[in-house]
């Protein structure tokens, strides 16, 4: 922790040196987003050094052609990529004809501060031009959380060392490229630019998908705090728009531009007239002014922090780490639009195509369930409900029938858009996580009605998939599931992956039970579900029950563990301790076949199943499996350590839990995997939240009651978190001696504390000695 590049601070990320070789890293760390759009921390002024330019607009993707060695039937036609969108951050500064460029100037002071409480990025530096003039710059930027189509930049430059001419020129550029393009092909077309009075806009359309983005600006200039209206020129090229103030400066003059930006997308606006609309929006922002915009932005952030802050005392690095994670999750997804979801890298890079993975259901959902209004988690579920038709089509492409659904492994709009067969066709456990999310949502929110309205349709379609996907093995005299990839993607095309089999059985059982419950509760609703899904309650249910009762679950009796998959014990039995550190991470040093035939596990797999269904297993069973698999796990997925940490805490091994927690808490801030340059690990940040709330806090929802069983790492003096149960907030504070629980809501909350049940009245606080 001590080798962090950033100063310790409870609320801020602070960079104090200009390190061009870490430029891309910082562009990721200081990225901003507001659920609707995102922006890497690219410099406003021109920068000829190494940079990954990144401007992203939610829901916009480019369908890159699937290119494979040999085509396999069922492959999706495309692989979605998140296109770097028209750029709006640029402000050129020319002092006596010389472009300000930190790659070419002498940089004397450099400081960048991300204030997570306010969602504000401030950068200040002093640069010496080759002419000897000194430019002192302060740039502030935010993407409005209260007006999510708007952003604002304040950029002030003070020039010292003489007088002359300065030109400050904010610009927009629709001529943008992705780094992640196979043949340097462009993802945008039909670019145009225009201006009108003080406003300008660029418009571009994605190739093939025809998403249109209009980006507009209005700029307000001041010199030494006084508004300037003359010597401002606007112009528009084919694909770029420019505004430029030319000013004869004297020594010490400060020129400032406030750049008000609006970004509109065709996902929310008709294409016709979008440039005008964007310019009008930028104009309204300018009229409101920077400070007023910032004020409402900060208030929106305050509301988020009130819902979901975690406070850690006695460990400032941990405090900074967890707030960074919560901040990034809130920057990525606000839950207002059920068409959106949470890409593994959010708005911080091109990798993973900004698409939706099973990360959402398996790792991220609990965060939003606990820290946001119920409708946010519900929108995450509706995202999948709305894609049910496409999931059924997807399964049909793979030969499944009768309304069986296979949700895509990676998706932008419900269609599969990843193209490796071992992932796309075989990593079918994702279906189980989507079913589990329904159960998880209901146990948190109590919204049983969701089952009849939406949930059962999804559950039935997934159960149909499982029933068709397994086959009866005469050799084993049981049902088996052949040819899968589990969460451990370091084994492909294996048979009887325990996690997949247990999830399949669970889904079938949950569906059968939910149907029975609905039949009992409401005949009308039950019949409606049956008629919508055309479920054959005789044949289909009887097959499901047969599979539930007779599915093969591989175990190793001598070792007393569940088996990763059928062939696991034939492998050379090693543990992580046997590995040469120089060969870590394995995925950067070992060829794929070597990884596949090794025992080493990428991320929780059997343990992921135990995490989901913890109550089904005795502590000793959990311990045996944990000890066996944790020693074989290389944690080469960022999603891995948190689940292990939760289980270690469950096993009362606080030290181990804490060690595992540390691997995830500051993963990006301290760049453990040397890949933060590509973007942040947004979805795994929810795992860090889990390791505190479910791990150390021991929070569980069981039988309509919040269970708590907190422990505290030795390094901390106290920690507190807020969770919502049935949309009622509850604050839990833990220190070495006691746990304090406060019901922040107006309703009673049923609790269980270390298995002792109690009910906390509205506003009531209870302190329980440990």
């Amino acid at each position: 922790m001590t080798d962090s590049r950033f100063q310790s601070d409870e609320w801020k990320i602070i960079e104090t040196r200009f390190e061009p070789e870490r430029g891309r890293d910082s562009e990721s760390i200081f990225a901003l987003g507001n659920g609707m759009m995102g922006q890497r921390a690219n410099f406003e002024e021109r920068y000829s050094g190494d940079t990954l330019q990144g401007t992203y607009v939610a829901g916009i993707y480019y369908p890159d052609k699937t290119v494979v060695g040999w085509w396999k039937n069922g492959y999706p036609e495309y692989f979605a990529k998140v296109p770097n969108a028209p750029s709006w951050t640029g402000i050129d500064v020319k002092i006596d004809g010389e472009l300000l460029d930190l790659a070419k100037c002498k940089v004397k002071v450099f400081r960048r501060v991300l204030d997570m409480k306010e969602g504000l990025l401030t950068r200040s530096f002093t640069a010496v031009m080759s002419s000897g003039r000194v430019a002192e710059v302060t740039a502030r930027r935010f993407l409005s959380m209260s007006e999510p189509e708007r952003a604002a930049i304040s950029y002030a430059v003070t020039i010292r060392g003489g007088s002359g001419t300065v030109e400050v020129a904010p610009w927009l550029n629709a001529d943008v490229y992705n780094e992640d393009a196979n043949y340097d092909e462009k993802f945008w077309e039909k670019e145009s630019a225009e201006y009108d009075g003080l406003r300008a806009a660029v418009v571009a359309q994605t190739r093939k998908t025809a998403f249109v983005v209009a980006t507009a600006m209005e700029n307000a200039f001041t010199v030494n705090g006084k508004s300037v209206k003359s010597n401002i020129a606007l112009s528009a090229g084919d694909k770029t728009a420019h505004c430029s103030l030319t000013y004869q400066y004297s020594d010490g003059d400060t020129v400032e531009v406030k750049k008000y930006v609006a970004v509109l997308s065709s996902t929310n606006h008709p294409v016709e007239g979008m440039a005008r609309k964007a310019m009008a929006s930028a104009g309204e922002a300018a009229k409101k002014g920077f400070d007023a915009m910032l004020d409402s932005h900060v208030r929106a952030w305050a509301a988020k922090w009130e819902m979901g802050d975690i406070v850690i005392r006695g460990d400032i690095a941990a405090q900074q780490g967890i707030r960074f994670n919560i901040f990034q999750l809130n920057q990525t997804y606000t839950g207002e639009d059920p068409r959106l979801n949470i890409g593994p890298k959010g708005f911080t890079g091109e990798k993973y195509g900004g698409s939706t993975y099973w990360d959402t259901e398996a790792f991220v959902l609990p965060f939003y369930l606990s820290t946001a209004d119920t409708h946010v988690a519900r929108n995450l579920l509706l995202y999948r409900y709305k894609h049910l038709e496409k999931a059924i089509e997807n399964a049909a492409k793979l030969g499944f029938k009768n309304g069986a659904a296979l949700y895509p492994m990676v998706t932008m709009n419900g269609e599969e858009c990843h193209n490796e067969w071992e992932i796309t066709f075989e990593e079918i456990h994702r279906n189980g996580a989507i079913a589990y999310a329904i159960y998880n949502y209901i146990r948190h929110t109590g919204d049983q009605g969701y089952l009849a309205e939406y949930g059962l349709e999804v559950l039935i379609a997934i159960s149909r998939f499982w029933a068709q996907r397994c086959n009866f093995s005469e050799e084993k005299n049981q049902y088996v599931i052949l040819g899968v990839t589990g969460p451990n993607e370091y084994e492909n095309n294996v048979s009887n992956n325990w996690y997949t089999n247990i999830l399949a059985r669970w889904t079938l059982k949950y569906t059968v039970d939910s149907l029975a419950w609905l039949r009992k509760t409401s005949t009308v609703k039950f019949n409606s579900v049956i008629s919508r899904t055309r479920l054959d309650t005789e044949c289909e249910l009887s097959l499901w029950n047969e599979i539930i009762n007779n599915i093969y679950l591989p175990v190793h009796h001598d070792l007393g563990i569940f088996l990763q998959q059928d062939g696991y014990m034939d492998k050379l039995q090693q543990t992580v301790k046997d590995l040469d550190p120089a060969e870590r991470p394995l995925n950067q040093h070992w060829s794929w076949d070597r990884i596949l035939r090794s025992v080493f596990i990428k991320q929780a797999d059997v343990l992921q199943g135990i995490y989901f269904f913890e109550d089904d297993y005795e502590e000793e069973t959990i311990r045996r499996n944990f000890d066996f698999y944790e020693s074989r796990c290389v944690h080469e997925s960022s999603l891995s350590p948190s689940i292990h940490s939760v289980l270690a805490a469950r096993l009362h091994d606080i030290e181990r839990a804490y060690t595992l927690y540390l691997r995830t808490a500051r993963l990006d801030l301290d760049d453990y995997n040397r890949e933060v340059k590509d973007g942040l690990h947004i979805t795994s940040m929810a795992g860090t939240w889990l390791s505190i709330v479910e791990g150390f806090g021991g929070m569980r929802i069981r039988n309509d009651r919040v269970y708590l069983d907190p422990v505290i790492p030795a390094a901390w003096s106290s920690y507190s978190f807020i969770i919502r149960f049935r949309n009622n907030p509850l604050r839990v504070e833990v220190n070495g001696k006691a746990v304090t629980v406060v019901n922040l809501s107006g309703e009673s909350i049923p609790l269980a504390f270390c298995d002792e049940q109690l009910t906390l009245g509205p506003g009531e606080e209870k302190k329980i000695a440990k």
Copy 2:
């Protein structure tokens, strides 16, 4: 057989109708080649209809960037593609300003004849132009087998219906594209064109690989048989060269051009001055003249037929089929250049990148061993010997050490150039086929010296690979080989594929035995091998012997069969009879995961092993395995039916052998798989040869003796084939009553006929009643 598009003929392939919708098919069927270059049967005159233009030059490839969803360590940087090379076949014909184009004229007569005896393609047609003029064309073409850098075309057009102006314009074009390009990118650059006197040339260089090809022409015109020298214009554009005769024709005039072509490549010539050299070569060809060139070409073909013809009486379709296969094999590979090899589609299409697969060693080598001089098969072996260093590098990339070699699955120059992990990294059985080829070569040729000089280096490197690739399973208490793909590519990443394990054991044993033999034979040579390979005769050999004695070979005791792989019996047990014919071929109807978890087998796998090591198994064992696996085999590789046919004949099931033989004999001629448009299945043609010589003929080489055990299909009255044993030709003729064997050589040949041993003196003939 009766629905063939082609007339039955013993020596000719005859097409009698113009079928534009089958145009690509015919372009493949009538393709010409001479080992150095190849040419699809594209029309000489312009053709605006559907066509796959294909001009190929041996050894030339373009390294297309590997594009995958997620990069895996060890992937090759590129995927080799065979570039469509500068085109030399074009001859534009303009009658009264109207371009002759069969897609636009009325075609009244159309006939195309491939004379396989002479290697000559003749096309004649009558076309009615929109002007009413009738053009009668006869075009003849060959790629010289005696002068392999040269080709010649004779193109004669007779015009009826009036008088006017005709322009006949042969051209060369370096501005060519591949269909198989991901983003329509070009594979050639630096194209140029020039002319000098009557000669012209185009030159182009492949991108990235910088192979240069220079293509030149000289043209000789006649009108009504009389040479014409005037009104001939030459010109050169940027990338094209043109020659043009303009002539005022009268009704019935015949204008003929003889186009002499030379194609030179930088693999054989210095780049400097290549265009000039190509023009000089075309000039020499012109000087020699069409008839003289054709004469020596036909003599070269006669020699090939003398070495390897198969004569079938009583079944003209079978006769045509087998000669087509022999003809194509000889067009593809002549064995004079050890840098060349046999691509699965030869020079007939772009698919499979013209590269080398295990097909060469497993299927094609026996054909050349029996029908060509020893140096031809030896060159095929040397091809791999020269690539040993790269095979060791390739294995090192995958983590293998100490000189272990993994030969590439697909290659142009020794480097791996296929990029699917389940093939590239896991289809390791190819290593075994390469070892087996050494054994096969030596038992045919008696060239034991090859072992000391080259063979053992390869065998040791491959044995090292096997020893490192297996691991000891504590669970099984035996050595296992995990994570492989067998010849049955419809199962991926399986464990203990019987074929792979048996080949690994065999290689280790053959290497150990060969070392022991060499130690006994020549200490000097033995020590030289040890020093070249740095073999640790203590440790390495002792490990090899341990593996030989204790490798796991999966069997199913109840069924009495060898097991395809560990998990095979967990699959839903079905046979091919259970399949819906509408779902065949599976690879065009089933998604990959469904194929992978089905029992259905693409091609001989366990049976391929039994084929290689037939003498190790009792007939009943062979029969049980054959019955089990043949009923599960969908034969979706063109390499499949022939091996099954040989085994069926071995089991005296002639009817089944014949049925299987029919699936391969006219595969392309009758286009069973509806894919001949992409090119011919060159390597599987050797399988057809195998099913006659090893299948019906029962030919085996055992203990320095030729074994024969012939049967004859009921449909044939007789058949004969020629094979070489120790480079001595032997003719075998079989009819319903007797087998006649003729020693065509000057040395004695030891024979075994239905287990009776005899020796046939020089020139001796022996007739044995059946």
